[in-house]
Symmetry: C3
Subunit: 256 residues, 3 copies
């Protein structure tokens, strides 16, 4: 099957002013709209839409599609839709059926899981991992090395519907457990842990574990133990987990 | 890119007895099955399936696809699947990857967000807004001006699995917060507010705020304040929020 | 529309070494990668991807796509993606936009609902029903006759991120309510009932009802009553519900 790699598939539509880097793969049936730039060695799966036009497209006669840039060595899996006007650093990776709306900025080495819906105007740092079916409301801010586990929801309206929109801020190394909901404007501190199914309506201090509906402080992350005894201290996770992170090679070097 | 508008794209399949209004756009790769009627000035995005056949199609030799009607000035975004047998009033709008099953009725000016799954045999009033990844079980009833926020789930079986199916009823102007689950047969009163992540297993009175797992009454919607002080009274929301609603223009007129 | 059945649609790509049984339907735009075997009388909808390659495909020069086998009389609805390396027993059925990753085993007569995401390396028994937007983490074990209702999440990491991965085990006839989250390594006993929106972080005994965040034991399933009085005893459900189950015909015979 390696004959697919580095080629443009069948039934592909590439609109005007698209720049493809070297050794780019474009899967069958994919549509690339105007002003998209795809970096070297990127893999774009089948049935994707890149450069999806913004809402103004349906109403404005002189609509201009803002540029979409995807960094080198990225993998966009099949059925994903990425709007015009966003920027992704190198080694960006998505699962399938991902939707990312306009005017968002992602740093390098980020991953967005299958069926996630990123609503636009968000800022995401480097090396973030969003798992499956994650929802990130407009204007959310997510710093480096954050984990959002499956079905996490970040909201942005404190009393919907209104125009008082401001997404949460999730700081470095924070981990948000499966199905947790983070309310508008809340700040999740660095190295904190939000329990699965939590409803977080207050700021979470750094290095703190919260859980429940609504979430309450349980303990420090330093107090968490591994029930199976396989890890002495599960948190801060960056002290034992390095897969795909910049400190992975350092450790290997140390190990040598 | 405006050269796409008002045209039928490439690799489109239009089956027998399909009626297209004036100035209809059909995106690339979209499939329109038998007996679909699309109103004037509708935009159907790429990779959609309209008139998806019902379960009987797989078994019955004489299967007849029931009619699907989409009102004028609607926007169906890419990768959405709408079954045969449903009816949508004018200015209907979907996000991407929406699924709406058979024999459902939507009023005018409704919006269904990306990845929502509407299971069929539902009745939805006018000017409803469903956000992302909303699940609406069969036989649910949703009246006018209702908001269902991201990841809301409406269920219909009080002791699954069984044949005692009856979805909830959500009354006018009610707002259901992100990730809330509404149990079978429950009635959500008009102008009420269901908190995010709530599990609602009892009826909610009109103008009432409920929250928690299971949900309990917190206060009247009139008691809710805007923490940032930008709105004197956030609820009833229809007294300050008018974007896209029939009273939007009235207000503008008043302002003049 | 019956002229679609038993045929390969338009714009279909079938790669090398694909085996199609008798009377197989392949919908328009579907891609079938190498080493896929589709049983007799299967219906594969439009826009599907079967035999999606594993992560190694992007890196390994000598990548070999492991075989995917889909049993006789299965229905894979449109926009579904099934990875290489999995096996499905006969009469397997999916909704739309389902994703099932590699090296999973499903028994006979299973159904996976629209937008579900099965992460691979899972074992699923016979006659299981997963509803819409279900997430099943890698290494989960699900025995026969299990129900996972909409938006259920099974996780596999007790302190993410780590390498201590082990999914839950859900035993025969268990029912997991809408939006419930089952934590890593937890065992859900046979014939038990997990309430909607629950967070289950401890084992659930057989025939037991749990609910809440975190979930606590409420009662025996034998204590549950039907509020409408339509069923004397809703649980164990297998004593009154037979639609699509092996005991369906037996009952009919008894009834005669």
């Amino acid at each position: 099957m390696s004959d697919i790699l580095g080629k443009v598939g069948e039934n592909v539509r590439i609109h005007a002013n698209v720049k493809l880097g070297k050794h780019v793969t474009i899967g069958d049936n994919t549509i690339v709209y105007e002003n998209v730039e795809i970096g070297n060695s990127c893999f774009i799966g089948p049935n994707c839409i890149l450069g999806e036009p913004l809402a103004a497209f349906y109403h404005e006669k002189d609509y201009h599609n803002p540029p979409l840039k995807i960094g080198n060595n990225s993998i966009i899996r099949s059925d994903s839709i990425i709007y015009a006007g966003s920027t992704f650093g190198e080694v960006f990776e998505t699962g399938h059926k991902v939707t990312i709306r306009e005017c968002s900025q992602f740093g390098v080495h980020c991953r967005v899981g299958t069926l996630s819906d990123i609503q636009g105007y968000v800022k995401v740092g480097d090396y973030c991992r969003f798992h499956s079916s994650v929802f990130v409301a407009q204007t959310s801010i997510i710093k480096d090395y954050v984990w959002l586990l499956p079905h996490v929801v970040l909201t942005n309206d404190p009393h919907p519907p209104s125009d008082c929109i401001q997404g949460p801020t999730v700081e470095e190394y924070a981990v948000v457990g499966a199905g947790a909901i983070i309310m508008a404007r809340v700040k999740i501190g660095r190295d904190s842990l939000v329990g699965a199914q939590a409803l977080v309506n207050k700021d979470v201090p750094a290095y703190t574990v919260v859980a429940g509906v609504p979430a309450k402080v349980l303990c420090s992350v330093h107090d968490i133990k591994c029930k199976e005894g396989r890890l002495e201290k599960p948190y801060p996770w960056r002290e034992h987990y390095s897969k795909g992170y910049p400190w992975e090679d350092e450790e290997e070097n140390v190990a040598k």
